[in-house]
Amino acid sequence: MKKTGFKSLSKASKVLATAALAAGISLAHAADTIKVGVLHSLSGTMAISETTLKDTVLMMVDQQNKKGGLLGKKLEPVVVDPASNWPLFAEKARELLEKDKVDVIFGCWTSVSRKSVLPVIEELNGLMFYPVQYEGEESSYNVFYTGAAPNQQAIPAVDYLMKDVGVKRWVLAGTDYVYPRTTNKILESYLKSKGVAGKDIMINYTPFGHSDWQTIVSDIKKFGSTGVKTAVVSTINGDANVPFYKELANQGVSAEDIPVVAFSVGEEELSGFDTAPLVGHLAAWNYFMSADSKENDDFIKQWHAFIKDDKRVTNDPMEATYIGFNMWAKAVEKAGTTDVDKVEAAMIGIETPNLTGGMATMNKNHHLSKPVLIGEIQDDGQFDIVWETDGLVAGDAWTDYLPESKNLISDWTAPVKCGNYNTVTKTCGGAAK
């Protein structure tokens, strides 16, 4: 009895000592490390997509440390879990900035999480890299958007379908939230400007996680059987895609008849099901795992080594994270500090290699210039790149196809220094620094 008591006591003291030691170490570290915050959901509905990005950031940090860190300091990742809960995103962002005092945050996936975090980052003058394609209509001093804006994904994809495939009738199907709503508004206005009649556009919204697609797929089939080439532009989100594609396959909607081009379906989403019946359906991204370049081969090799699984795929948001991280590292070295204002200034104009064999450039509006690729789904869950833009496309924060944002531009360099500068009235809206 006594012995065990003593044992457990000594055990406890050991634990305590280790804990104290650990605390001491982390205190000592605090002074000479650069902290990298990772704000991706590790539980809840978004974990399925965001966990991969957390791992990507950790891999990048690991590699940077192997190269000797930055400014002679090691990088230290600080991972928190906002649990797919939007208010929690704001709280965790505040925790990262106020409590952990991180120098940069890589994070967010959904628009609502970004919108939730934005006021906190702006208030505390933090720095965040956002790696996912989104609806645009935003440009913050404190955020760099490394995913695609609508003109880097939606519009080129529609152009491809219109010119190369000869599509004349359009179904715009999306999940009912802000990204599909905005993208579809932009596309509708764009298509109409190209002479597509209103009756040739069908718009359909479904709730998150929609699982019964029978009626909608059958409607698409009917809409597409008028003898005019029809395509579906899908902004259907995440989990709803699997039942959607399964229903497409079962009702026999083949890509040769009615191609579906998706903006939210990448390699990772496809890894959840058998793609043989979906061969030929399309996706538009800035990166595909099948891209033929040395950088990409290296990246995939590193990823497999890091995650210890040869079967894991890579996808576009991972490339966006990769570009964002490398740009930040380069900017920190250029600025010689992690101070947000100096890094922000250094970021603009920075070039780093993208994974498709070119260079990505950070523009004055905090968006990237990237190539746009169209891929067709293959039976192995990969995409075969069938088309790409001739050059790079510069991300446009404010689309030209909505009346309200037509006159707005974003330019974070002097003398404008404004996220929503109105070129007609020559004034800056709310988003000034």
């Binding site: 590790l42 539980s43 991972v79 928190v80 879990d81 906002p82 649990a83 809960n85 939007w86 208010p87 929690l88 704001a90 709280e91 965790k92 505040r94 925790e95 106020e98 409590k99 959904t110 628009s111 609502v112 919108k115 939730s116 934005l118 006021p119 906190v120 208030e123 209509e137 935003e138 009912d176 939230y177 802000v178 709503r181 905005t182 508004k185 919204y205 709730p207 998150f208 909505l402 009346p403 309200e404 944002s405 707005l408 996220g419 929503n420 109105n422 004034t427 809206g429 709310g430 988003a431």
Partner: protein, 385 residues
């Protein structure tokens, strides 16, 4: 327990409620110390309390008020609502709408008439149900009325047709689920999935300043104390006795001539309004309200707070809300993987072994301690309801 009328009403309420007295005292101390330490001491000082901590505490207090609202109907009237998150969210939306209107032309499009999310989705004019939310007074009225009216209509129908027990629980869940789906729709005009966010100021004070935050924190404390006293007043009144009677034997209460449905309806509506107030205070502190708050799982979590703290005591609900949420904050930071295991385990353990929650556990420990002290006279447990 006898009621001595020569004392003041507050004394009467708290006389036999030692837990409540301690709670209110603690709250008052918090209301003074925390904003003081936040505003007076500079960052880096030992006494400094960061804004992060203060808003976090403020959030916990809003949850605590919500938990009191649930304990009021569950602990004292046996109504297990799995949809109380809906009332919380409605209160939050009412506040959020006011805050949206306060943005005015400082939105990204500079449109004074419409919130940003309406502008880029091509809304031409403000929908009628947004009228009036420019006014703080009107918005506050709606904070009470929006949940209150929903609770009234819903309760009126449900209690009148004697939907009780698990059936009631399930249809309250259906209610919040239907509202969740409805608010997700962008066509509803509440910002869809993104909800309402990017607030600038409240009553002219910037929401980003620490002093506004401090005031909001104090307001949360006061609301919590107020909510506690109102609930305490209800449960110690004669009406409260009837409620307990309904909880324990609804049919008998009905046979004794009480109009059970009206009693239930009353307390249900009061509870929904308390939840609404909690939501209204929550929104400016966390900075966003979105349909996620309607999710059925959120409503179930509230029940857990109450169960963990100890139902049927009111202050137990506060303890539970703060404890569980604190644990959530810690665990989602440090051991994200473990959090759901822990939360799930907590549910099972509490229901199996701690039916009276933390408060019950504390009483048990105290009793054992007293036994050991050999205080021969067994203590009267009169103050336990």
């Amino acid at each position: 327990m006898t009621i001595q009328d020569n004392r003041g009403p507050l004394t009467r309420l708290l006389m036999s409620d030692s837990g409540g007295r301690k709670l209110i005292l603690l709250m008052l101390v918090l209301a003074v110390i925390i904003p003081f330490c936040n505003l007076v001491f500079a960052e880096g000082s030992f006494f400094h309390i960061s804004t992060y901590t203060m808003t976090l505490l403020g959030k916990y207090l809003c949850y605590a008020l919500l938990a009191i609202a649930v304990d009021l109907i569950w602990g004292y009237c046996g109504i297990l609502s799995l949809g109380h998150g809906a009332f919380f969210a409605l209160g939050g939306y009412a506040m959020g709408m006011y805050l949206m209107r306060q943005i005015g032309d400082r939105g990204v499009y500079g449109n004074a008439e419409l919130p940003d999310f309406m502008v880029f989705l091509n809304w031409q004019e403000l929908p009628w149900y947004w009228y009036g939310f420019d006014s703080f007074a009107f918005a506050m009225l709606m904070v009470l009325l929006a949940p209150g009216i929903l609770a009234f209509v819903f309760g009126f129908l449900a209690f009148r047709s004697r939907v009780t027990g698990v059936y009631l629980s399930i249809i309250t869940q259906a209610m919040t689920y239907a509202l969740l789906l409805a608010f997700f729709r962008n066509d509803m005009g509440f910002g869809g999935n993104n909800g309402l966010t990017d607030f600038k100021d409240i009553l002219g004070f910037s929401l980003q300043s620490d002093s506004t935050r401090a005031v909001l924190f104090i307001a949360s404390v006061l609301a919590l104390i107020g909510g506690y006293l109102i609930s305490r007043f209800i449960v110690t009144s004669k009406l409260g006795r009837v409620l307990v009677a309904i909880r324990d034997a609804e049919s008998r209460a009905r046979f004794l001539g009480y109009r059970v449905e009206y009693y239930k309806l009353f307390v249900f509506v009061v509870s929904s309004m308390l939840a609404g107030v909690a939501g209204a205070l929550y929104v400016p502190q966390v900075g966003i309200i979105n349909p996620g708050e309607f999710a059925p799982i959120n409503s179930i979590e509230i029940i857990i707070w109450v169960a963990v703290g100890g139902r049927n005591t009111l202050y137990g609900a506060v303890i539970g809300a703060v404890l569980v949420n604190y644990a959530k904050t810690v665990f989602t930071g440090a051991f994200a993987e473990l959090w759901l295991f822990l939360l799930g385990g907590l549910f099972v353990l509490t229901t199996l072994w701690l039916p009276k929650g933390m408060v019950g556990l504390w009483d048990l420990i105290r009793e054992k301690y007293r036994h050991r002290q050999n205080t021969a006279a067994p203590l009267a447990q009169g103050d336990q309801t």
